[in-house]
Symmetry: C2
Subunit: 463 residues, 2 copies
């Protein structure tokens, strides 16, 4: 079909003015007087809408007047400049064809609906202003991340979703099975007979692609993953989803400084990309969702990220322990309140905290010479707290093995991972960025359910 | 670390010649004579390798001589042109630092290993020439697909992986559960008590994001998905994996012709992108994996895809029924042998077959006026057969409902999908591209296990 999009019209208005064009879209609002009427149309290609003027000279004038919000129409007409009006131009229609009417019980009327209500109609909410903005920006952020890494010749690796290993020894995982749950087959000694399962063993959904990613970094030098990860955590918060996307770059011949430079470069790149490619959406967020958003993001673009060790950070925070629900002490994990205090009150810009106690970090992080801390880094940003977590990896076979044994991990489960330290080991580093947290950060949206098209949380798996 | 990559050296050789640079990489081969030696190094950034010359003037000359294939080193030295030699330049080293040696049982020696063997060491095989080429090209194809759609303002939608619905009423799905398999909770009447499961109901892994994707196309007009999908099919072939990635674009205000134009444009775009960005890898495939590859791909670039209806195609094929294992007749599903005959022997180029009998296609495809066929299209390519399957979707509420009832689908399970036909329905179309099949097509690799980093197939879920 030879239709012009609203985006094309706005981007190349000079070319289309006074021309006859056809546009397809959905009715956002409609009002008529006796001899003519106005329809505001969105075609989803652009945040702004387009005004259509129609007249009673049309044979289907009555049909048009009766259209409801949400109806799909195709309009033929001439694009006319309207310098006196709110909108820059409108279409003087010669034909309005109804593709599909909208039933009178259409759940989205021309009024403000609460986010809570809109979550109950996740198949329709992308038709609203807020979710048009959220999900277009989500798409742009995803692409900007790919572009950032591909321009730097990172290889995109699809690490597996179904896994037989438990990456970090971490947390609650979803089991994946083809066994008949009504009638689980058992072995002679009464255990589940996984030899009858699809993969011949117990499997679950991955919580991280990092360990697999490292194997590819040791072949391609610079790689990144970008895929779904899963947590079966029973936590009903505004920041946790059971299914979310992660980006995990990994670089060989790279230390913690290289890692932080990559992370800072990535965040700035993505912010710049979105401000450039979705200015209408970003202004909308700044006006209606989070008033300080643009100032904050521009602040990030214009600052060098701060750097502080965990030990120094604890000293700073201890001086303000009165202000915190959880008091800090050397060895404690930082809570969001501490992270936000550091980045918002002390440094007033994004901040890397490095060299955490080994006890509160994962087994694969590189032990520092002090034997107490590891070469970890968390990136904290104003308004959120931690947005990125990463580290240099332990590349010494013996140290890695002994750390695994200390923590009770079975070396035979990690043979492939130990192999990387046996055959051409080299310093290497990487980090993880929770994609949804990044979308929340860039849009100002406060609930993770509102930045995922069809969110999965405890007791919620609709559509 | 301030290291120059092998890719940078090859791309900007003039800039680096006669300069002192440092390079990190892994030993591909090493040989020494009395006073000096040669190391061929790969750093994974580029398909070509780099030759290093080292001398017995170095304090660690003996250590270097003893290095094994696979060892990680950092080399400092001067890049020197070698116009007489096989390689265009080499590094005259002043320092060779061993980052990590490689144990003597390194499984990859300088000889040809079979693909079967390499599948048993999926964490090391990306270090070989073939898999360096496969997985860099896989990464480039993924990016080219994103670029194609983003340049056209398609919105990238992450449709959910965990689902409570069974998209096409199709096939074997993996169940997802947090129930204790050792001790499945039961209700009073003996059924599995899913109220105790994480999502409060039975859930499984998605087989397609299409239906969810359509809801976003009816808001954004043009969207695409690119994510993992799953089939618990017990089929042990070279073309089936339990976990694979799919691309599913969907366009509103678009008919079957728009759909085919989008698919043809995408395939050509991706081929062109890969030929331009990975010429070394593509030449390697053409030389060592599939001798007709480049000729075939260039043929695609330079041809308009053919178009034939299913009914016409059956007439053509019936004349050659002698040649087929499965004889064709109107109403039968096309087998790979038929598809390949059409595209390779009859049309000798990529081909769209359209308007299939409704009985062999999915319920959501648009019924044609003949009431017998649907507005479906399969794209067939030489060497593979079907690579893309798509259709215009049924946008008429009543027709969709009656088709669902004919097939015994419960309308209440598809309420959200029916809503799209109730509130502003419009003609719309989309297709699905199996990403791995696309990678096989562009590389000439014959087994899907060799184009997935860590493949999942029946009884196989390693690493």
């Amino acid at each position: 079909m030879n239709l012009t999009t609203v985006r094309e019209i706005y981007k190349n208005r000079e070319q289309y003015l006074s021309q006859e064009i056809s546009v397809g879209g959905w009715v956002r609002s409609i009002r008529d007087s006796k001899a003519f009427g106005f329809i505001v149309v969105s075609d989803g290609s652009y945040f702004e809408t387009l005004q259509i003027v129609y007249h009673d000279t049309m044979p289907n004038f009555d049909e048009i007047c009766k259209l409801n919000v949400g109806a799909a129409i195709i309009v033929k007409g001439t694009l006319v400049a309207t310098p006196e009006a709110k909108q820059p131009f409108e279409i003087q229609a010669t034909e309005v064809t109804v593709e599909g009417p909208s039933a009178s019980d259409y759940p989205l009327q021309k009024k403000r609906h609460s986010f809570e209500y809109l979550r109950t109609i996740s198949h329709l909410r992308p038709r609203t202003n807020t979710f048009q903005a959220v999900f277009r920006v989500r798409s742009l952020i995803a692409y900007a991340i790919h572009q950032y890494f591909q321009e730097r010749d990172f290889v995109y690796v699809h690490t597996p979703l179904i896994t037989a290993s438990d990456c970090e020894g971490a947390g609650e995982m979803f089991q994946v099975t083809t066994l008949d749950l009504d009638n689980i087959p058992k072995t002679e000694d009464g255990a589940v007979d996984f030899s009858q399962d699809f993969f011949n063993k117990p499997t679950s959904l991955t919580v991280s692609g990092q360990l697999n990613g490292e194997t590819y970094a040791m072949a391609f030098r610079n790689i990144y993953t970008f895929g779904p990860t899963f947590r079966a955590e029973n936590s009903n918060t505004t920041r946790h989803a059971a299914e979310f996307w992660m980006i995990e770059p990994e670089m060989a011949f790279a230390d913690l400084d290289d890692n932080m430079a990559l992370a800072e470069g990535m965040l700035k790149y993505v912010i710049r990309y979105v401000l450039e490619h979705a200015p209408e959406e970003m202004n909308f967020f700044n006006q209606f969702v989070d008033k300080g958003l643009l100032e904050r993001l521009n602040g990030v673009l214009n600052s060098e990220f701060g750097h502080v060790t965990y030990t120094e950070a604890i000293k700073i925070l201890e001086e303000h322990n009165d202000a915190f629900e959880y008091k800090v002490f050397w060895g404690c994990d930082l809570q969001t309140e501490h992270e936000r205090y550091l980045t918002e009150e002390v440094y007033k810009k994004p901040l890397f905290v490095t060299d955490y106690p080994k006890e509160i970090k994962a087994f694969y992080m590189k032990l520092n010479d002090d034997n107490k801390t590891v070469a970890a880094m968390d990136c904290l940003v104003p308004g959120i707290g931690e947005i990125i977590g990463g580290s240099q990896r332990e590349d010494n076979y013996d140290k890695l093995l002994s750390r695994m044994e200390e923590l009770g991990l079975k070396p035979e489960d990690y043979e492939f991972y130990l192999d990387l330290r046996k055959y051409g080991s080299t310093r290497h580093s990487g980090f993880g960025l929770g994609f949804e947290r990044c979308v929340m950060y860039l849009t100002g949206m406060g609930n993770i359910r509102d930045v995922i098209p069809f969110p999965r949380t405890v007791n919620n798996c609709d559509l």
